[in-house]
């Protein structure tokens, strides 16, 4: 569509942004790679000024052979997968509901969006202390009201709790994108399907869901990128205990708690590889929706 000339102009105008973004990405990436091959323990007196020892792939080997590595990958995938399932399913449901004409739609929509404005640290703390606390939490009161023994969510159902909190944060995003997608569905298509003899559920399955597939793809891709690096919600609730140590959290512990920058950097490189594997995997499954 574009002519040679306009394409060249477009490249020129995009160049500053591309260069900035590249710098933004490349500098940390190169530093991470650099540190990952060095012995860098600030508490033992290593510093950039004195020069760092080259240790080859020792950091990489130590990171994967640590007993925390594979569990952390597993936990990461469980949390990401769990949140994706919850947000996409509930998001679709909510989007369908919000699309119905009803009283007070405006207010309901704002309410639905609002969790998105709460900072992860805050929402983690609020959930932990107001809802999930085993003595004063709302859930504890609710359980007691039904005569059940209160659950200490954060320690006994730790993974479930974190998935719940993170899903709550990301549900608005999924709902919003899916809602706009639903609203762009031509109502005549639904009417045509109705006349073709499709009852409501079949219309949803054969018309609405295929129409939403592209939006769902986008929700999944974007959320995955952000979910792979969730941190604050874990930090303020379980602090990595009770089997909630994700890869991101493990790297944090290596760098800041053990003060081993080299080891943490090697972990960072693994995280990049994991993210890419997940991304390729997702693109394979859902990416074909994007070029349809």
């Amino acid at each position: 569509m574009a002519t040679q000339h306009s394409r060249a102009a477009a490249r020129l105008m995009m160049a500053p942004a591309v260069i900035l973004l590249l710098g933004w990405m490349l500098v940390p990436l190169i530093l991470t790679l650099y540190f990952s091959f060095k012995r860098y323990l600030p508490l033992r007196g290593d510093s950039l000024g004195k020069g760092l020892d080259w240790v080859g792939f020792q950091n990489y080997a130590r990171f994967v052979t640590s007993s925390s590595f594979w569990p952390s990958i597993q936990v990461t995938l469980i949390i990401v997968g769990g949140v994706l399932v919850v947000t996409v399913l509930l998001g679709t449901l909510l989007a369908v509901l919000l699309d119905q004409p009803m009283w007070g739609t405006g207010i309901v929509r704002i309410l639905v969006i609002s969790p998105f404005f709460v900072m992860p640290t805050v929402s983690g703390l609020v959930w932990k202390n107001m809802f999930m606390d085993s003595t004063n939490g709302l859930f504890a009161h609710l359980w007691r009201a039904f005569g059940a023994a209160p659950v200490d969510w954060v320690s006994q159902q730790s993974l479930f709790s974190i998935i719940l909190i993170v899903s709550w944060e990301w549900l608005p995003f999924a709902t919003l994108i899916l809602l706009t997608a639903i609203q762009s569905l031509d109502s005549e298509q639904l009417e045509a399907a109705e006349m073709d003899g499709a009852p409501a559920l079949k219309r949803f399955w054969f018309i609405v869901i295929p129409h939403l597939s592209r939006a769902i793809t986008i929700v999944i891709l974007i959320q995955t990128i952000f979910l792979l690096s969730i941190f604050a919600e874990i930090y303020v609730t379980t602090a990595g205990a009770f089997g909630t140590k994700t890869l991101t959290y493990l790297i944090f512990q290596r760098v800041l708690e053990s003060q081993n920058v080299g080891l943490g950097s090697a972990g960072g490189v693994y995280a990049i590889i994991l993210a890419n594997i997940v991304a390729i995997f997702l693109m394979r499954i859902v990416g074909k929706n994007l070029d349809a």
């Binding site: 031509d186 005549e188 298509q189 009417e191 045509a192 399907a193 109705e194 006349m195 073709d196 003899g197 499709a198 009852p199 079949k202 054969f206 018309i207 295929p210 129409h211 597939s213 349809a292």
Partner: protein, 333 residues
């Protein structure tokens, strides 16, 4: 199979009454065209028949059974939408088969009917494409295909040709007319294009603001419009409507004369005027004659080659017996 009766049907959107009480009978196998200006309620009426809108009061009967409360799918009608409303993620084959699939027909039966419809509509080569990969006319045919496989009691068309270019429109018009001749199924067709109405219909229903102004065959409407609205709406170009002293001479409030019923002459005639804008269509030439003192401009038809130019004096003579007379209420006398 396909007799539709509307009995005092009304439709209100909130406080606004879009369709005032309306009675209409559509006979089995008829090709009925609803025609009228934009916003007059044609689509609403069609959607009421389809069941996509609920009537506010009144009854709809299909084949003698009361269908007022029957859901759209159970009325046995098929609709072709203005936007075609094809399912974009399904192939043409799946689109056409969709109603059959919903009806739970066997795979073999589905295939048989789909290929039958595809053959009739020249779609066989496109069965595996998506709607997005088809031209407007082909999409239109897919939409019709999806309607005919169900073998409905009646077809409902809502301005199906309005998105097509002029040449294609003429072609599709013929195809739909042929389809009607072959299937002999009731068809209800909505349009605001009176040429489509005149060429396709067995029976035309002229609507204005939800009211039926006249029902009749195209020729009836052309020859004896019941009022000034129908007179002005049917026929192309429009009938000339003249009020005042000239009308009073014929004992009417308004008289009407069609452009094709006026004889022209450069030297003598009943009315005198000046040639204004002229439209040359090759076979015909239409002159807009100004300064007659009768109306702002009188349109007249002349043969293809006429040597009158802008500003020339022209004399007009209405053909005997072709004059339409209307009273103060606009009704035909």
């Amino acid at each position: 199979m396909g007799r539709i009766t509307l009995d005092k049907v009304t439709k209100k959107f909130g406080e606004v009454e879009v369709i005032p009480p309306l009675d209409l009978t559509i006979e089995d196998g008829e090709f009925v065209v609803f025609v009228g200006p934009s916003g007059c309620g044609k689509s609403t009426l069609l959607r009421l028949i389809a069941g996509l809108e609920d009537v506010s009061s009144g009854h709809i009967q299909i084949d003698g059974r009361d269908a007022t409360e029957v859901p759209p799918a159970k009325r046995g009608l098929a609709m072709v939408f203005q936007s075609y409303a094809l399912y974009p993620h399904m192939s043409v084959r799946k689109n056409i088969a969709f109603p059959l699939r919903m009806a739970g027909l066997s795979k073999d039966e589905q295939d048989k009917r789909v290929s039958g419809a595809a053959e009739v509509l020249n779609l066989t080569a496109y069965l595996d494409r998506r709607p997005g990969q088809l031209s407007g006319g082909q999409r239109q045919r897919v939409a019709i295909g999806r309607a005919i496989v169900r073998e409905p009691a009646a077809f409902l068309f809502d301005e199906p040709l309005s998105n097509l270019d002029a040449a294609l429109r003429v072609g599709m018009r013929l195809e739909i007319s042929e389809l009607h001749k072959r299937l002999e199924t009731t068809m209800i067709y909505v349009t605001h294009d009176q040429v489509e109405a005149m060429t396709m219909a067995d029976k035309i229903v002229v609507l204005r603001a939800g009211n039926i102004e006249q029902v009749g065959s195209p020729l009836e409407l052309y020859q004896s419009p019941r009022n000034t609205f129908v007179a002005g709406f049917i026929g192309s170009p429009r009938m000339n409507l003249i009020e005042g002293a000239e009308a009073a001479k014929h004992d009417a409030t308004t008289i009407g004369i069609r452009p094709e019923h006026i004889a022209i002459s450069p030297t003598e005639g009943t009315w005198q005027g000046k040639v204004g804008v002229s439209e040359h269509l090759g076979s015909d030439t239409f002159f807009h004659v100004t300064g007659t003192g009768l109306a702002d401009a009188i349109t007249v038809r002349a043969g293809g080659e006429v040597s009158l130019r802008y500003g020339d004096t022209i004399y007009l003579t209405p053909e005997e017996g072709k004059l339409h007379r209307f009273d103060a209420k606009g009704l035909r006398i």
